[in-house]
């Protein structure tokens, strides 16, 4: 059902965990639907210096969370906002159709974390 890449990220998730004092946090999904993910980011000089995740959900939810951290790390905030759900799925070699909507939330999580950072920065001005 899943590609080798998905299984690899499920078995060995990259950047799993929390950042103790994150600059932005994005939480998307809902445990009621079976998928909930939190993305933590650390920003330096407009770049995603560090990114970590925690996810409750199926194999696809865990693999997409792991993949987004690899895709986003070191990118500028603008580049991060441009990473789409499709990019995440493509980099995993594709996802089963039913998972495209329910479990492919990682891009939304990243965008939410960046928005959270931008909002906090705005508030500090």
């Amino acid at each position: 059902m899943y590609t080798e890449k998905v299984m690899d990220h499920f078995k060995n998730p990259r950047n799993m965990g929390e950042i103790p004092d994150p600059d932005g946090i994005g939480t998307v999904g809902n445990p009621v639907c079976g998928d909930l993910m939190t993305i933590y980011i650390k920003v330096k000089d407009n770049r995603l210096e560090d990114i970590k995740f925690k996810t409750f959900g199926c194999g696809a939810a865990i693999a997409t969370s792991s993949m987004i951290t690899e895709l986003a790390k070191g990118k500028t905030l603008e580049e991060g906002l441009k990473i789409s759900r499709g990019d995440v799925a493509d980099n995993l070699g594709g996802l089963p159709p039913i998972k495209m909507h329910c479990s492919n939330l990682a891009a939304d999580g990243l965008h939410a974390a960046i928005q959270d950072y931008l909002k906090k920065k705005e508030a500090q001005k």
Binding site: M16, P31, K54, A61, I62, I98
Partner: protein
């Protein structure tokens, strides 16, 4: 450990089927010797099936293509035949899809449905059942046991209530048959569905017990086989196989049931004791011998299944992510679980091939799997409640 999804055909069953796939290919409806041979095989099979469910007369057994068709025939066949008496059907919130969706299919033809709730163990609420039956009710359909949470229903008591109101009782015994002793006569049952594969017979065969005198009409029309109730040439090899499976189940039910119950009890005890925040789903005592349904807080079932599969263990889950819909199992929601609890459920259904060593393997492997997935989950509290 996923026997509810599919069981292997017992080698002794395969043995008796082979002649009917090779030299004995006659049509039971033919008059000649070859037809007679096939017809005799079908009639002998009918007697063995009757004995499995405790039916007095073998002519009360009708062969179908499987459990789903038996449920369709029982519900639709009784509903349309008794429409002059009423249009109300009572069933429960934990039925198999083939009962639930068959009942729902009748809504557009003017029938009304009542879904009776169950308690936290999955036992049908008898008071609610009694109240649900009106003078318009023509059929009550309740499963003998639930394959997802293992709970065995009080069919005898349900039958007493249903019959005291003059209504017919259909029992879906697909999950229970072959595992626990069944007696349609003592248990006040008018119609009962059986599936071949669930008793280690081949797929493609099933049976419906119909008590003599029950008002029912066919849903499949054609050459009038099975006394006109189910047209279509009999699937002789599968029917012969199913009847051998029934014979074996009758003979071995007690010893195999005791063996499986002891494996089940150890699996449940060891897992719920060694893994914090893990709980048994379904009734602790009144449950199918092969069924261990356990839920683990803070994690999701599909990732549990994937992790077990990597270690060579097949199980099943109540999670939405393993089904075609986004909703978790309606059975787990009906026993009062929250959505996130239902998502974290794992179902082990053991069978003839499973041994103590299989239980040991799962008991050893699962704690680390749960621990790893909990370390990834944002829902896991810092201190786990036990």
């Amino acid at each position: 450990m996923d026997h509810t999804a599919g069981k292997p055909v017992d080698p002794r069953v395969l043995e008796v089927m082979l002649p009917y796939l090779r030299q004995i290919y006659g049509n039971p409806s033919s008059l000649h010797t070859w037809g007679n041979e096939a017809r005799k095989a079908v009639e002998d099979s009918r007697a063995k099936l009757a004995s499995l469910v405790g039916a007095k007369r073998s002519e009360e057994i009708f062969f179908t293509s499987g459990g789903t068709e038996s449920n369709n025939l029982a519900i639709r066949g009784v509903a349309y035949r008794n429409k002059d008496k009423g249009s109300h059907i009572v069933t429960t919130e934990i039925e198999h899809m083939s009962v639930m969706n068959t009942c729902k299919s009748l809504l557009k033809d003017g029938f009304n449905l009542t879904f009776v709730p169950v308690d936290k163990y999955g036992v049908v609420d008898l008071q609610a059942l009694e109240k649900a039956i009106t003078d318009k009710t023509i059929l009550v359909s309740v499963m003998y046991a639930n394959g997802e949470i293992g709970t065995i229903e009080p069919i005898k008591e349900i039958g007493e209530i249903v019959h005291s109101k003059g209504v017919l009782l259909h029992v879906d015994a697909v999950a229970a048959s072959g595992q626990v002793p069944i007696n349609v006569e003592n248990e006040n049952t008018d119609l009962m569905s059986i599936s071949s594969n669930d008793i280690y017979g081949p797929r493609g065969a099933g049976a419906l017990y119909v008590k003599t005198g029950t008002r029912i009409q066919p849903i499949i029309f054609g050459g009038g086989q099975e006394k006109g109730l189910r047209s279509g040439t009999e699937n002789v090899p599968a029917i012969v196989g199913m009847s051998k499976a029934a014979e074996i189940a009758n003979a071995e039910m007690k010893t195999e049931g005791e063996r499986l119950s002891s494996l089940r009890d150890r699996l449940i005890k060891d897992l719920t004791e060694s893994i914090p925040s893990s709980f048994l789903n379904g009734h602790p005592i009144r449950r199918l011998p092969n069924n261990a349904s356990i839920r683990f807080s803070y994690i999701e079932g599909e990732s549990l299944l994937l992790s077990l599969d990597m270690l060579g263990v097949a199980a099943s889950s109540g999670s939405a992510c393993t089904s075609k819909t986004l909703e978790p199992s309606h059975v787990l929601l009906a026993i009062g679980l929250k959505h996130e609890e239902a998502h974290g459920s794992l179902l082990f259904t053991m069978g003839k091939q499973n041994t103590e060593a299989d239980v040991d393997y799962v008991v050893n492997a699962l704690p680390d799997i749960v621990k790893r997935l909990r370390s990834i989950s944002p829902l896991t509290p810092k201190e786990l409640p036990t």
